[in-house]
């Protein structure tokens, strides 16, 4: 069973007299122990709201509704009471935020901001906590940690601040770390250092990491599995290599295509996705990406596209996916019965529900059942 299983998560903001906003609309993904999972999408696609909803950190306000499930280690985080949630936060599930300066309390020293986690979850006090905090700062690559403990956030550089935030997040060796755009506010060289640090921490401690980003470079360098979000839904899920080699969803393809390349010829223009994320169709009326999609067909509008599972454990939500060379084109399939297609029933790509029976491997589990 996965460490974190997010199932049909939805977050809506209702305001009197205004249209209800479906910030997250049926997002499902899972994270295994030690796995690095990316949530990718442009601004406003619901990445951050997803993570905040899982952590129970969405600002309480009238009209906010969170639905679905986020099962962490057998507990649905969304159903927990405030107290048990606080017990889990920081200890089992920790989070790193985007802007390190505003995410640190300006009026108390770094040391206290680290030791307060240790005191809360590990019962450490005084010198023991101070020593552990210094060790943590050292581990995240902050030089002269003893002195830094006494300093305030404004006395640290941007990279140092993000390192300090990471130290706070990993203080209790959480099993799951959620990093919400951890490098966006940093300059490029620092970004690389911070990503390297996160990679090392994940490798050394076996912590699972959910990496929320709009930066495909970050995803390419770190993530095992990638979920591409658009308008509050996961539109494509795949492991790293297949996703970058053969994106199936036109949105993913557009994202990859719009990354500037160093080896592009002079004068070659960028290929942006036309339109903006505001030009979206409400999901019930069809694919939200349809208004901007180059591969739009009639079937895109009317009903939301079903999730399609393919043979290599990928999935996408599209009735006219980018064809994969060498495989039978599905052009016919989508033209006939696209929206009713059941997972597993897609021609030429359908993966059998069971692995192919291998002669000789069958009896093995049965032996264990014999008394």
């Amino acid at each position: 069973m996965a460490l974190l299983e997010v199932d049909d998560l939805s977050v809506t903001f209702a305001r009197r007299g205004q249209r209800t906003v479906h910030a997250v609309d049926g997002v499902s993904f899972s994270v295994d122990t030690g796995e690095v999972v990316g949530l990718v999408g442009e601004s406003g696609c619901g990445k951050s709201v997803t993570s905040l909803a899982i952590m129970g950190l969405l600002p309480k306000q009238p009209g906010l509704r969170v639905g679905g499930k986020a099962v962490f280690d057998g507990n649905d985080l969304l159903q927990l009471d405030d107290r048990s949630r606080r017990d889990i936060r920081g200890r089992d599930v920790a989070m790193i935020f985007q802007d390190p300066l505003s995410s640190l309390n300006p009026v108390i020293p770094i040391g206290l901001q680290v030791t307060e986690v240790l005191a809360r979850h590990r019962g450490m006090k005084g010198e023991a906590a101070a020593k552990e905090a210094a060790d943590l700062l050292d581990r995240v690559g902050i030089p002269d940690p003893r002195r830094r403990l006494k300093e305030y956030p404004h006395q640290l550089s941007g990279g140092m601040r993000q390192r300090a935030l990471i130290a706070m997040a990993v203080a209790c060796q959480p099993r799951l770390l959620i990093a919400d755009e951890p490098t966006t506010a940093l300059d490029v060289t620092i970004q690389a250092q911070i990503l390297e640090l996160l990679k090392d921490l994940v490798r050394d401690s076996g912590t699972a990491l959910v990496m929320i980003t709009h930066d495909l470079g970050v995803v390419a360098g770190m993530c095992d599995t990638i979920n591409v979000l658009y308008a509050g839904r996961v539109v494509e899920t795949a492991t790293r290599r297949p996703l970058f080699r053969q994106p199936r969803h036109p949105y993913t393809e557009g994202l990859l295509g719009s990354v500037p390349r160093l080896d592009a010829g002079r004068g070659e223009r960028l290929n942006p996705i036309p339109g903006s994320v505001r030009d979206l169709l409400p999901w019930p009326d069809g694919c939200a990406f349809a208004p901007r999609c180059a591969r739009r067909v009639d079937a895109c509008v009317g009903e939301p596209p079903e999730l399609v599972l393919t043979h290599d454990a990928r999935s996408y939500r599209c009735v006219n996916p980018v064809p994969v060379p060498g495989l039978t084109p599905e052009a016919d399939a989508r033209a006939t019965a696209p929206t009713t297609t059941e997972p597993g029933a897609v021609p030429a790509q359908a993966e059998p529900a069971d692995p192919p029976a291998v002669p000789g491997s069958g009896p093995a589990p049965r032996e264990e059942e014999t008394p």
Partner: protein, 334 residues
Amino acid sequence: MFRFIVRRLLQLIPTLFGLSVLLFIWLRRLPGGPETAILGERGTPETRAAIRRNLGLDEPILVQYARFLRRMIRLDLGTSTGTKRAVTTEFVERFPGTVELTVMALILAVGIGIPLGYLAARRRGRFLDHASVGGSLVGICIPVFFLAYVLKAIFAENLGWFPSSGRQDPTIGATRVTNFFVLDGIMTREWDAAADALWHLVLPGVALASIPLAIIVRITRASVLEVLNEDFVRTAEAKGLTERTVRRRHVLRNAMLPVATSIGLQAGLLLSGAVLTETVFAFSGIGAFVAESISQRDYPVLMGFIMIIAVVYVLVNLLVDLSYSVIDPRVRVR
């Protein structure tokens, strides 16, 4: 830190000098004069001139000012034309009462205002929020003297829970040391005297606290609401800290800066503006005395009072600035 304090105290000197020049000119430009206050409309020009000569008001204004400055350096504020006593003596007797009253009002305003403002922010849009915001509006609107009369009528005269006037029951026969009656009682271990003086402070303290309380509630509420939206509060929540730790360490401390500023301003206002409350409760502070001095054109008293208030304002603002540096390391003074 020490240099900062010294520098700020040295700034007092030019401030007071400029203020005294302005006051000297303005006060003497007021129509009428002490001789009119003493003699009324009936005095002959001769008696008026005699009084003016007596008070030294017939000399050129520069000479008068030089004499005033010479006295000031010896901390001598001259003699009141109304009571014929040394102005410093009058102040030493009366100012402590007003200070006690101000401190009482501030303790009430801060002690109730900050928690109430915090709770209102946390329960935004619910009953307590609406009640405290509405209540604070009422608090600002009700004239202090009216509230003072109402409190006196209900709690002193009808219910008899609190004394209706004065600073202390004279039959206690308390020993005077500093003229701060509560402090005197504590210093001389006359606990009954201290308690009685404190008891006398409650009703005027409540009346005087109403406006600062309302202001502090509102400023605290607004400030807490702002801080609650800050990223670092979310970080603190993400760490799984208890609500109590988040509140004290992360929300309140950051929300206190604007509140500290307003407390400083309120302290100055209360010290100089407790006249009405003091009058209603026959509380022998500085307020009623100064009000009387204005109608008497009692130049030495007015000069002295305004100068002292200026000093108090500077000191209170210094305290506020120092408290900033305690609250926020980013404005730590050098």
